[in-house]
């Protein structure tokens, strides 16, 4: 008797729609609709492609941030880390270019991934072994990375070698099957991220460590290990974003990635990941990154609100998103 009852409810559950998962996408759809009404240029494929491509960097970093935040951490250093990794990568590429030619790009990219992972490892180890609040630790490393890139560039910029520029250019400006390369890279990162978070034991442990570290500990999960690994993933994501970003500007400067950490955290939180840890929402994060960039784009296109107020509108959005979470559950 109980079995019958159960299978019936289960089949009903199977079709249950999780509104909290769809929320960010509905918000994005509304914004796009409003945009189409406001400005006829908004819905052109060129403009939409531009918006999505520009959101790629924040999206890629925000995937890593989804892991960190879901595991109960927070990383404020991503913007500075991005600038630092970019600087190191360009220096390595430039120094290898005379000997190896265009292959130096791959070597530089490899070095960037390693440096990013190490930066993340640093954050993770100080947080878990030092048992210091992640907010404080990454506030510190944020300053350190920013100072390092300023020092490396001597306050100016580190341009990429002229010979490499042409070969590297397609990574940002090129396209494959009509879709810009950064979007392909973002899709790949998202798929890997979603697989890791939803389909592996690691992902399950990340969310358990964030939801209740005591329960995780009593269940034999290494909370410190899981959290450290999340920071390392974050570092790798930052490096991937840096690799895509370099051809866009062709240089690393002390202002590269400035305030990105706020956009990244905004994207994650709008996407429905709880800032206090627990459930991570990869797809929501993507919607969040798109929302941020779409709004900025709309404000530039329309004359209604000064584009200098972009940050203010983003601030309003994050607060509205949080209020919606609280009252619409």
């Amino acid at each position: 008797m109980t079995t019958v009852e159960m299978t019936q409810t289960r089949s009903r559950d199977g079709w249950q729609i999780r509104w909290s998962d769809l929320g960010p996408w509905i918000a994005l759809a509304v914004i796009v609709l409003v945009g189409a009404l406001i400005n006829s240029n908004f819905l052109t494929s060129a403009n939409l492609g531009n918006v999505i491509t520009r959101s790629a960097f924040v999206a890629i970093i925000a995937i890593g941030a989804t892991f960190v935040i879901a595991s109960g951490g927070l990383d404020l250093s991503v913007g500075s880390m991005m600038a630092f990794v970019t600087g190191v990568m360009i220096l390595v590429m430039n120094s290898l270019a005379p000997t190896y030619g265009a292959s130096a790009i791959f070597m530089g990219a490899g070095v960037a991934l390693i440096v990013g992972a190490l930066c993340g490892l640093l954050n993770g180890l100080v947080v878990t072994i030092g048992k210091i609040e992640p907010f404080i630790v990454t506030l510190g490393t944020m300053g350190i990375f920013r100072a390092l890139i300023t020092w490396m560039s001597d306050g100016g910029s580190i341009p990429i070698d002229r010979d490499l520029r042409a070969a590297y250019r397609p990574v940002y400006f090129g396209s494959f099957l009509g879709v810009p390369i950064p979007i392909w890279i973002t899709v790949a990162v998202v798929l890997v991220g979603a697989f890791l978070l939803y389909r592996t034991k690691f992902g399950r442990r990340v969310q358990a460590a964030g939801a209740n570290p005591e329960v995780a500990r009593f269940s034999g999960v290494s909370v410190a290990g899981v959290r450290t690994m999340a920071f390392v993933l974050q570092g790798v994501c930052v490096a991937i974003a840096a690799i895509c970003y370099v051809p866009r500007l062709g240089a690393a400067t002390p202002t590269t990635g400035q305030l990105w950490e706020l956009q990244v955290i905004t994207a994650v939180v709008i996407g429905g990941t709880m800032l206090r840890g627990g459930r991570g929402r990869i797809w929501g994060t993507i919607a969040g990154a798109l929302i941020i960039e779409t709004i900025a784009n709309l404000m530039v296109l329309s004359d209604m609100v000064s584009e200098y107020l972009v940050a203010a509108v983003q601030g309003v959005i994050i607060i509205i998103a949080m209020l919606a979470h609280r009252f619409l559950r």
């Binding site: 109980t2 079995t3 159960m6 409810t9 289960r10 559950d13 249950q16 939803y198 389909r199 592996t200 034991k201 690691f202 992902g203 399950r204 442990r205 969310q207 358990a208 939801a211 209740n212 005591e214 329960v215 995780a216 500990r217 009593f218 269940s219 034999g220 999960v221 290494s222 627990g278 459930r279």
Partner: protein, 522 residues
């Protein structure tokens, strides 16, 4: 009693325990019901000024509920409270305090980062207009602290004070204004021996000043030393009020326990198998304890004692969940050096926490995630998750442990306490352990689920596993365990087997300090 009369003879002004005096507080037919569960009923109580009235009972007997009803923290469902003859009802604790009734809580409820004086006057600061006068508050704080013999200073941060001094600050807060009735809820739970003596002196001082003191404790030696009258509660029922004179600790324990056992428990097992786990001189950091025990297959080993006896700490130390040292720990004769939940799990030793909601379950996550969290490797070989296997594991657990759910997609927080406990039991059994340690297996669970959990424990033991049950419910230990260790102040103070396992024996060993009495005797 003689000592008391001498005091009063010497102090004619405090006419105190004169039975002719009207009681300061009278309670008739007091009871409290939560939904369908009655936690306290039919309490009649009277408190004379200048009397120490002890309330004793097992854990869960309703002592704390009674205190909360009297002090306005919880509203009674039925019954009447009269203060100096006039019926009263307190909407909150503040009103009760204004009327002169104050409860000194068992837990320390102070703001760590504020000073002693700030804590004392929190919410009732004094000073002209809307400003506060630190000078006035410091002066009154100093005076109250001196009265109760505290060495803390008004400007000390509570954070910097040792536990015993914090307890005194809490008492000072309660005694800032004159009180007619002072209620102490287990005031000595966190105190060391000489600190206890100081606290008992404060209680006597209050009594001699003419206040009525209601004193709740499960330390029967304190009750014997302090009380004028004793009220016994059992299972939320009032057993009676007795004069303390001539009442032995053993008699108190018998009154607390009272009843015979029913058919709640499965029949006991008779022949235990090989020794599985040997623990020699395990001591937990910050504890004075050093406990040794052996755990045998095919046997339920009960660990009894009062709350705060160090049982949970001991097991958490064993499991590597808190720092601990041991002379030797061996599983099946083989020394174990690495102690962590994971390492133990690989060797077949698992622990089910007493703190279901804080340490056991991810309340916001679904049942399957909770079920497999400790056994991710067993349920999901390789790197990836296998949703199909997980669902099958959940279906198996739901039917084997009779977890009553409307849907398999509920979150753990949506289950009733009994079903949560069954889910946790299923969770730890998923790794197919040899030694199962369960802390408070039936806390907060209704009788039907209780009996089922006893049957599960019986079955796993008959399958040749070992089970350790930590319980504060004496009847549970008596009904379930084949062997019982009793802990008191971090040490194993007694071991009972067979017919020796009685509630009287366990309660007596857990509460009385026979050593102290032997030392005191000439």
């Amino acid at each position: 009693m003689t000592r008391l009369s001498i005091i009063h003879a010497a102090e004619p002004s405090s006419s105190a325990t004169d039975p002719g005096l009207p009681p300061v507080l009278e309670v008739q037919g007091l009871g409290k019901t939560y939904g369908a569960i009655t936690v306290l009923s039919g309490v009649d109580l009277s408190l004379q000024p200048g009397e120490v009235h002890a309330v004793i009972g097992e854990n869960g007997a309703g002592k704390s509920t009674l205190m909360k009803l009297l002090s306005g923290h919880v509203a009674p469902t039925v019954g009447q409270i009269r203060l100096e003859g006039a019926p009263v009802s307190f909407p909150d604790a503040a009103t009760a305090e204004q009327a002169g009734i104050v409860l000194v809580h068992q837990e320390i409820l102070l703001a760590d980062d504020l000073t002693v004086a700030e804590n004392l006057f929190l919410g009732r600061e004094i000073g002209p207009w809307w400003t506060v006068s630190d000078r006035q508050m410091d002066a009154r704080t100093r005076e109250v602290l001196a009265r109760i013999g505290s060495v803390a200073r008004p400007r000390d941060l509570v954070r910097d004070l040792p536990l015993a001094q914090r307890q005194l600050v809490q008492i000072a807060r309660a005694l800032l204004d004159p009180r007619k009735v002072v209620i102490f809820d287990e005031p000595t739970a966190v105190l060391a021996h000489d600190e206890v003596a100081a606290l008992l002196a404060i209680v006597r001082q209050l009594r001699d000043a003419g206040a009525a003191v209601l004193y709740i404790s499960h330390r029967l030696d304190e009750v014997e030393a302090l009380a004028d009258r004793i009220t016994v509660l059992r299972d939320g029922q009032m057993i009676g009020t007795f004069p303390a004179a001539g009442m032995s600790q053993r008699r108190m324990a018998e009154l607390m326990v009272g009843r015979r056992l029913d058919m709640l428990y499965p029949p006991k097992r008779t022949d235990p198998g090989e020794t599985l786990l040997e623990i020699e001189a395990l001591s937990v950091e910050h504890g004075r304890q050093e406990a040794s025990l052996t755990i045998r297959a095919g046997e339920v080993l009960g660990i009894g004692g009062m709350i705060g006896a160090g049982r949970t700490e001991l097991i958490e130390g064993l499991m590597g969940l808190r720092p601990a040292t041991a002379r030797r720990i061996a599983l099946r004769g083989e020394d174990v050096s690495k102690r962590s939940v994971k390492a133990w799990q690989k060797r077949g030793v698992v622990y089910l926490t007493e703190d279901r909601k804080g340490k056991g379950l991810l309340l916001g996550s679904d049942l399957a995630q909770n079920l497999t969290l400790a056994a991710l490797t067993e349920t999901h070989p390789g790197v990836m998750l296998h949703p199909g296997r997980e669902t099958r594991a959940l279906e198996g657990a739901v039917s084997e442990y009779d977890i009553r759910v409307r849907s398999l997609r509920l979150t753990a927080g949506q289950l009733s306490g009994g079903n949560q406990q069954k889910l946790l039991l299923a969770k730890i059994m998923l790794t197919d352990p040899a030694v199962v340690i369960i802390d408070e297996p039936t806390r907060g669970i209704d009788i039907g689920n209780k009996s089922q959990i006893y049957d599960f424990i019986d079955k796993l033991v008959r399958d040749g596993r070992a089970c350790v049950v930590i319980s504060s419910e004496m009847s549970e230990l008596v009904g379930l365990a084949d062997r019982v260790l009793v802990m008191r102040a971090g040490r194993v103070v007694a071991e009972f087997a067979g017919d020796q396992i009685t509630e009287e024996n366990v309660v007596y060993a857990a509460t009385s300090s026979r050593q102290d009495h032997q030392e005191a005797a000439p």
